[in-house]
Symmetry: none
């Protein structure tokens, strides 16, 4: 059995054709992320609730594109903007399917925090992620956690699929799982849209509060257990900042070499990687 | 009844001649504020207790002009310096009377946190603020609160009024109220003095600890209730940083357009705004 550790090891270095993309010198946090961390939590009205997630596909920016808050319903809302020259939305659509079948792929994304990944269905790289659950071991801040993302179709949480396609946008949407606690704890969206010279990612997380229930228990009893759990163990401001930092790190880091990775291993590559 | 929300809405945009000064892209936090936030709480001796508030009118700077601390008496002390080129102390004296009668005026100051304002006496713009109480709805950090400021004459808390006038200084002094809790919780001072090219504001807050009593109950029983309340619900370090951030944001933001606003709506304006 593999020992789960940070970094490439135990043959991962030599066995992986993409190991040369593993770079532990990560991209620095952009200035707007540092500013958001300095400002502290903002008014919750500035960040839309999960029920309005679909509005992310509209033009323009909100008043708080990189920020975090604790809302009165007990949930944290986190927003992060990532500017990605040379990157296309299609590259991220490919990435989310491609990375999930092999830990060394996943480790490229955040070399200092990503430990392991595997699809819950036991299958390998099928070229798909919607409808599948990615089981993850990663650090967020100093905490090592067994988490997961159950990816859903954008239309399932309020996006207009036709409009996304017309605008050339990709919305990666998922239910966030804490496998240690056997709980579904929140939602994430990464909306990627073309901008001149590349694309930008509008990431959103809604964690805790009404978004908590035992995995698979979406009925009344599940919601009651979830609300109790959320009250007993509320998501904290420091956890919100750690999630914002983690997201900004991994998205900025990968964006710098995603075009090259996509060219070498993506669907149009001539090599054997994809 | 008006819905109380962030931002200009419900006719506020078109009805307000000063709406063009509403700018949700706020000024960034100055470097010395970011440094103070990075440093964390300082030795409480570096920040004078409320009993020495009047010393703010003396020349020079203290050892900690932008900082926060928790003092042994259970109170938080917060200090913030704002440098304001082109601004005069008289502009702030005018602002504190002018902004309090209309929410759209108040919202100019901190577009991402200010929700509502009204004078407790029910009167409108009388050109005065000392002796009046301003009832406020605002976010500090992620918390939306019903608070207030009962403005007092500087001489009431230890300033020398004649000396302030001789030096061309303005001291805005007030008792801070938490209307949700029906408590007086602290004191604030904004001392504005001329410097070459403009003026500087030395803001101070003393919150919690011995400064808490039920509103209007200043006697022994009130002080006892206040001390108990302060012990049960102490002001936290994160609240202190949020107050420092909020103060730095609103003062730097307004200072950038206060001269233009004063010229257009102040006492010497020829328009109809004041």
């Amino acid at each position: 059995m593999r020992t789960l550790v940070l970094g490439l090891g135990e043959g991962e270095t030599t066995d992986s054709p993409y190991a040369r993309y593993f770079n532990p010198r990560m991209a620095p946090l952009p200035g707007h992320v540092l500013e958001a961390l300095s400002k502290g939590p903002v008014a919750h009205e500035l960040l839309a609730p999960f029920a309005r997630a679909g509005a992310l596909q509209e033009d323009g920016h909100g008043l708080a594109e990189t920020a975090y808050t604790l809302a009165p319903d007990g949930s944290a809302r986190i927003a992060c903007l990532t500017e990605m020259p040379g990157v296309t939305p299609a590259m991220w659509d490919w990435w989310f399917a491609w990375h999930g079948s092999e830990a060394p792929r996943y480790k490229l994304w955040h070399p200092l925090a990503h430990v392991d990944v595997a699809w819950a269905d036991g299958e390998g790289d099928t070229g798909r992620y919607v409808g599948r659950t990615s089981n993850i071991v990663e650090y967020v801040g100093a905490r090592r956690m067994n988490v997961g993302v159950r990816f859903v179709a954008p239309a399932a949480i309020g996006f207009d699929a036709g409009d996304l396609a017309r605008r050339g946008q990709v919305a990666i949407c998922g239910r966030c799982l804490m496998r240690d606690l056997h709980m579904e704890v929140g939602w994430l969206v990464h909306l990627i849209r073309p901008v001149p010279g590349g694309s930008e990612m509008r990431s959103r997380f809604w964690i805790g509060g009404p978004h908590v229930n035992p995995i698979g228990m979406t009925g009344r009893v599940g919601r009651f257990i979830g609300r109790t759990a959320a009250m007993l163990r509320p998501f904290s401001v420091s956890q919100a900042t750690e999630l914002l930092i983690h997201d900004a790190q991994e998205m900025n880091h990968l964006a710098a070499f995603l075009p090259a990775l996509f060219a070498e291993f993506g669907p149009d590559a001539t090599g054997s990687g994809s």
